[in-house]
Symmetry: C2
C-alpha cells in the first residue's frame, strides 16, 4: 500500500529553494525566509496566490528575537495575505516537522498547494548563547551550563557504543572524511574542506577533542541558512524540473529523559523508519541514496544500524565495504550531510528533502548520482527524541 | 456544507482537562502538561495507547529553558512511546494552532484520536523577561526594550479606534467589568475579582494607566496554566460527558509589519471568521455564546465588529443593549475571558475551546448557560497576525 492508496491522494515535491549554508552576516531570518520562499514558488512554476497554507520549521530557542515568525513568508508577495501560516518545532527536526505537517494538510484536503520553509539564523549570536539555545533541546541540560554542550550528549552515545561494541575511532573518522569529500561538490555547503580519515580520527591542534571521543571533525558546524519546498497534490506542469513523489512518511517521538531510553538504540528512529518504509512499500534494496541526520558522526554510525544497512554493532562494515560511499551500493549523505553542508537547525530537514529531490529530478549538478530513482531522508530532534523519515521517488 | 460533508469525516471534542490559571509556583511546564494530558485522556474515556498523535501549543520565546517540549506529554504513560508529538507556535494563538493541526491529522486520516495540549509557564520569570518574551511576538519591537510592552501595541489600536469612531473609555470599562463579573463563577480563573464599570474606566492608584488609554483593568494578566483536549473522528462511548462536534474552522494570517495593516480592521480575524462560519454553515443568530480573544479590552471591542455583532465603529452598542452579557442574546466570554481567566499564552486557545465545550456538553457548573447548543471560539496571535476561529455544536 502506497501513500496514495492509503490516503486517496498523491503528494509531490514540485519545487524548492535553498540558500547557501554558512556564516551569512548580511542575512536576517526574514531575508532568508523570503529568499527561499520566493525561489521555491518560482521553481514550482506557480503563482504566490496558489499557495493555500504555509508551514514554517524553526527551532529558535532564544537565538532570534522574533519569537513569532510564521508570517514572515507572507512578505514574499501581497498575494499571500490571509494564507494560514504556522510555525512547528521539533528541535533539529523542525524542518521535517513542517514538511510532515504540510503534507497532512494536503491529505486532509485543507490545501492543494503548500509552501514549507525551514530556517535558522545562528552565527550572529555569541557562542555561549548558541550553546544555551541548543542545550534547550535536552531534558536534563536545558537551562544549565555545560562545557561540552550537545556534543557532550552524543559523546555519551559514542562512549556507550564503544563499551558495548568496541572501538569506533576509525569509523567516526571515515564518516567525517566521507561527508567532507561529498560536500566538496556541493556549492551550498558550509564547510567545503577535504580531510583524510586519518586527520579526522586523530586529535591535533587543528582537530581538538570536543567531548571525548568526539573531535571537532565529528561535529556539524553552527550555520545560518534556509530551505523551502512546494508540496502539491498534482504534479505542477510549469515547474522548472520534474516533480518528486512522496512514497511514505513516518514520525515517532520518544521519551525526553535519557534514562528512559537505551542510548544507542535510537528506538524512535527505528519506529519512524518502519512506518515510512511500510507506507512506501520499499526496502533498503529499492533505495538509491539516503540523506540522514549526521549532527555528529556517531549518529550516522548508529543510523546505519537503525536503517538496517548493518546489524547492531556492525555499522562500521558499510564503511569498510564501501556501501555508503559515492560509488557504493547505497550512498549516504551525498550532499555532504550536516557535517559538511552545515546545520542551521530548523532548515536541516527541509534541506535534506531538497537535496534528495534534486537527485531524483536529475538536477543535482556535480552532486548528481546517475539514475537515482528513490531516496530516504532521516531527520531527528534532540538525542533521537523526535524522529522523521520520508521516502521519495522520481516521477 | 458542513465540515463532515466537505472532508468526509466528523471531528469531535471527546474529553478535556484544564488546570487552574494563575500564579502556580509549585508547577513546572512538565507538571502542567502531564496533568492536563492525563485529565483529558480520562475525561475522554480512552486508554493512553489509543492516542495516535500529540499536538502541543506553546509560545515560549525564552520563558522556559526547555525549548523542545513536544515530547513532555509522553511522560503521562509509557503507552505513549513512539506517538508522534509536535509543537506548534503562533504566538498567543499557539493553542488553537495545535487544535487546528490536530484536526488536520484526523481529516487526513493519519490519526483517529489526537491529544492536543496548550501550556505556558510564565510567572516564575522576572517581569522584564516576560515583557521581552511577549515583545518577541511583534515585528518592530522584538529584541527591543519597550516600557509599555504589548499593552503599548494595543494602546495604539485603541488610540486609532478613538480617533476614528470617538470616545471608548466607558466601553472598555464595561468590557472589563463584564468579564470580571463572568469570571467570578469560574473556579479556574486567575483573577476572580468583581469591579464596577466605573472603577475600570477610571484611573486610580489601584487601577493605573498602563499605556494610554489602557488601564490595568484593560489588560489580561500574566499567568501559568495548561489545557488539553482529545479530538476523535468517532464520538467516544465511554467519555465522562457528551462529545462536542466541530462544525467549522478557519485560520488566516496577516502581514507582520503593522504598517501594512489597518490597525482597527483585524482583517485576518475577519477572514478566519468568514472561513469558519461558511464551513459550519451558521450565522450569528445560530450561536448561543462566543469565547473571544480579549487580551486587552480594546480587542474585544473590535472583535464585536469583526464578528458582525455590531457595525464598524459601533461595537459599544452591544454593551449598551446588553447583547454580550450573561443574560443577553449572545453572551461573550462567559468564562471570564483572558481578562479574568488569565492568559498563559500557549494554553489560551485550548482553554477557550474547553470552556466552550463545557458549555455545550452541559458540564460548565456555575458558568453554565442553560440550553447552550452552538459556540464560536476566536483566538489570535500578535496584533491580529495569526487568527483562528472554530465553530462548535452540542451533540
Amino acid at each position: 500500500m502506497t501513500l496514495a492508496e492509503r490516503f486517496g491522494t498523491d503528494v509531490f515535491i514540485s519545487g524548492w529553494g535553498h540558500t547557501k549554508f554558512g556564516s551569512l552576516p548580511d542575512e536576517t531570518l526574514e531575508s532568508l525566509v523570503v529568499r527561499v520562499a520566493g525561489e521555491a514558488i518560482t521553481s514550482a512554476g506557480i503563482d504566490p496566490g496558489q499557495v493555500d497554507e504555509i508551514w514554517f520549521g524553526q527551532f529558535n530557542s532564544g537565538l532570534w528575537p522574533l519569537g513569532f515568525a510564521s508570517s514572515l513568508a507572507l512578505q514574499v508577495s501581497d498575494e499571500l495575505f490571509r494564507v494560514p501560516a504556522t510555525r512547528v518545532e521539533n528541535a533539529c527536526a523542525s524542518g521535517s516537522a513542517a514538511i510532515h505537517s504540510g503534507l497532512r494538510s494536503l491529505l486532509a484536503g485543507t490545501a492543494r498547494t503548500v509552501l514549507v520553509i525551514g530556517a535558522e539564523k545562528m552565527t550572529h549570536a555569541p557562542a555561549e548563547q548558541v550553546g544555551a539555545a541548543l542545550l534547550g533541546a535536552d531534558y536534563e541540560l536545558a537551562g544549565s551550563e555545560s562545557r561540552t554542550g550537545f556534543a557532550g550528549l552524543f559523546a555519551r552515545v559514542a562512549e556507550a557504543y564503544r563499551q558495548r561494541y568496541g572501538e569506533i575511532n576509525d569509523a567516526l573518522g571515515a564518516i567525517a572524511a566521507k561527508n567532507h569529500a561529498n560536500g566538496m561538490a556541493n556549492p551550498l555547503a558550509h564547510l567545503r574542506k577535504q580531510f583524510t580519515p586519518e586527520f579526522c580520527s586523530t586529535t591535533s591542534e587543528k582537530n581538538p577533542m570536543v567531548a571525548e571521543p568526539l573531535r571537532r571533525t565529528d561535529c556539524s558546524p553552527i550555520s545560518d541558512g534556509a530551505a523551502a519546498l512546494v508540496l502539491t497534490t498534482q504534479p505542477s506542469t510549469s515547474a522548472a524540473q520534474s516533480p518528486v513523489r512522496l512514497l511514505g512518511f513516518g514520525q515517532a517521538n520518544d521519551f525526553m529523559p535519557a534514562n528512559k531510553r537505551d542510548p544507542v538504540e535510537f528506538a524512535g528512529s527505528v519506529a519512524a523508519w518502519e512506518r515510512a518504509r511500510k507506507m512506501a512499500g520499499v526496502g533498503l534494496d529499492d533505495l538509491d541514496l539516503i540523506e540522514l541526520h549526521d549532527c555528529f558522526t556517531i549518529a550516522e554510525l548508529v543510523m546505519y544500524e537503525v536503517l538496517g544497512l548493518a546489524e547492531r554493532g556492525k555499522g562500521r562494515q558499510v564503511l569498510e565495504d564501501g556501501t555508503v560511499f559515492r560509488d557504493g551500493k547505497l550512498p549516504v549523505n551525498l550532499s555532504g550531510g550536516l557535517k559538511s553542508k552545515g546545520h542551521p537547525v530548523g532548515a536541516t530537514g527541509v534541506s535534506q528533502h531538497v537535496m534528495a529531490a534534486m537527485q531524483l529530478s536529475g538536477t543535482a549538478g556535480e552532486l548528481q548520482l546517475p539514475g537515482a530513482r528513490r531516496a530516504a531522508v532521516h531527520n531527528m530532534g534532540g538525542l533521537a527524541v523526535a524522529n522523521y523519515v520520508s521516502v521519495l521517488e522520481a516521477v
